[in-house]
């Protein structure tokens, strides 16, 4: 139970043990635990960031929906305007067309009337000549009075 050289042997063993424990137990485990701590911290901060990003995305989605609604309203108004315009235009076109058709028809009628008038006057002159022939019984030669009849016809 005396202090002997064993003391120094044990001291050397103790120093060796400290080195070995540090080399094989402390260093690998504590660095691993440090890595784990880092990983957990990273994970937590990543989830925090994810939450933040989700919030931002939600805000952006609300904004986008709002914008889309506004745009839709705008488009609807435009479409309404445009349809009114188209309707008006169509109505105007139809009116103009009908007026044109009516005018054409009236002009045609006028021309027909004129032509009928000429035809009638021609026939009236022929009838007048025929009637006069009958009345005068050969006394009047058509060829002789042609000039005066033509004058007559022109005057009708």
């Amino acid at each position: 139970m005396n202090i002997t050289v064993t003391l120094f042997a044990q001291m050397i063993a103790f120093i060796a043990m400290i080195w070995l424990v540090n080399r094989f137990l402390w260093a690998p485990l504590s660095s691993m635990m440090e890595a784990r701590r880092q990983r957990i911290a990273d994970g937590l901060s990543a989830s925090e960031r994810g939450k933040h990003e989700l919030k931002l995305a939600e805000e952006r989605a609300v904004q986008v929906i709002k914008e889309a609604k506004e745009r839709a309203t705008e488009l609807l108004a435009q479409a309404n305007n445009r349809s009114t315009e188209i309707l008006d235009e169509a109505r105007n076109n139809a009116k103009a067309e009908s007026e044109r058709v009516i005018a054409g028809a009236q002009a045609e009628i006028g021309r027909e009337v004129e032509r009928a008038k000429q035809e009638l006057s021609k026939q009236v002159s022929v009838l007048a000549v025929t009637g006069a022939e009958r009345i005068l019984k050969r006394e009047v030669d058509a060829k002789v009075h042609e000039a005066s009849i033509a004058d007559l016809v022109a005057r009708i």
Partner: protein, 274 residues
């Protein structure tokens, strides 16, 4: 009891026999082989366990033994951080862990039945074998002395040689009682390693002695009616002391570690922090 029989019997001889080391050499040059072999074997066990855990480190979901090792590690780390804060250098924590685990294992040898290993070795032809390395003063004082050398080193490194000498001169009574201060501080500093080593040695030695005394209850008994009383009593006492001693060995290992940390922590405090 076979280890005892050829000493001729007798309680004193029985106890003395158990407290004698297996050694070579004479006088100061005595080498206690049992102390050295057992402590090295336990050290090898720690290193082997450390290597096994270190090989299959699981970062994500550790299980089983790794959990336990991590628990011990964090416990030691907390103790060191409490004392050192940010001044921690890389040596203190492994040193504390070594002390806790190694001392605990060496103390644990105390729980092995006192006659088991000596009896087995006696069958192989060895007469003396002291199983518990921490009941050898050389072991505890070796560690205490190394801790003392470390405190000396860090005292001088942190405070500077002048600062360290100043601590002797002006502590604890100020500059007017310098001779008293020197004596007081010297005693204080020397008491640290001595008490550190002797406390562990004393507790383990006493514990071993109680086990020996309990074993003596039926020592040399022959088959008789008296044995019917003594034998159960011995078993009960043995179990009671075992349970109590589990606390003692853990506590002593813990105290050795904490005091080491505290002494080294004190060595790291500079003068202006007093």
């Amino acid at each position: 009891m076979s280890a005892v029989e050829n000493t001729g019997g007798g309680s004193v001889e029985y106890i003395q026999h158990h407290l004698t080391n297996w050694s070579v050499g004479q006088g100061f040059w005595t080498l206690n082989l049992d102390t050295i072999i057992i402590s090295l074997m336990l050290g090898a066990l720690i290193v082997f366990a450390g290597m096994r855990v270190g090989r299959n480190l699981e970062v994500g979901a550790p299980s089983g033994f790794q959990n336990f090792v991590e628990m011990v590690l964090e416990f030691v780390d907390t103790q060191v951080k409490d004392s050192f804060g940010k001044r921690d250098n890389g040596l203190i924590a492994p040193l504390a862990l070594t002390i806790l685990v190694w001392v605990w294992l060496m103390n644990f040898m105390d729980l092995i039945p006192v006659d088991l290993i000596p009896a087995g070795l006696h069958a192989l032809g060895m007469d003396y074998f002291k199983v518990v390395p921490t009941t050898d003063l050389n072991t505890t004082m070796a560690m205490a002395l190394f801790v003392f050398l470390l405190t000396l080193y860090y005292n001088i490194k942190v405070k500077g040689l002048v600062g360290y000498i100043k601590m002797f001169l002006f502590h604890p009574f100020g500059k007017f009682l310098i001779p008293v201060n020197v004596v007081m501080t010297a005693i204080e500093e020397l008491a640290k390693p001595i008490s550190l080593g002797l406390r562990l040695f004393g507790n383990m030695f006493a514990g071993e002695l109680v086990f020996l005394l309990i074993a003596l209850l039926t020592f040399g008994a022959t088959i008789s009616a008296a044995l019917l009383i003594w034998f159960p009593l011995q078993v009960v006492l043995d179990v009671a002391w075992l349970i109590f001693h589990i606390l003692v060995i853990t506590l002593q290992a813990f105290i050795f570690m904490v005091l080491t940390i505290v002494y080294l922590g004190m060595a790291h405090i500079t003068e202006d922090e007093h």
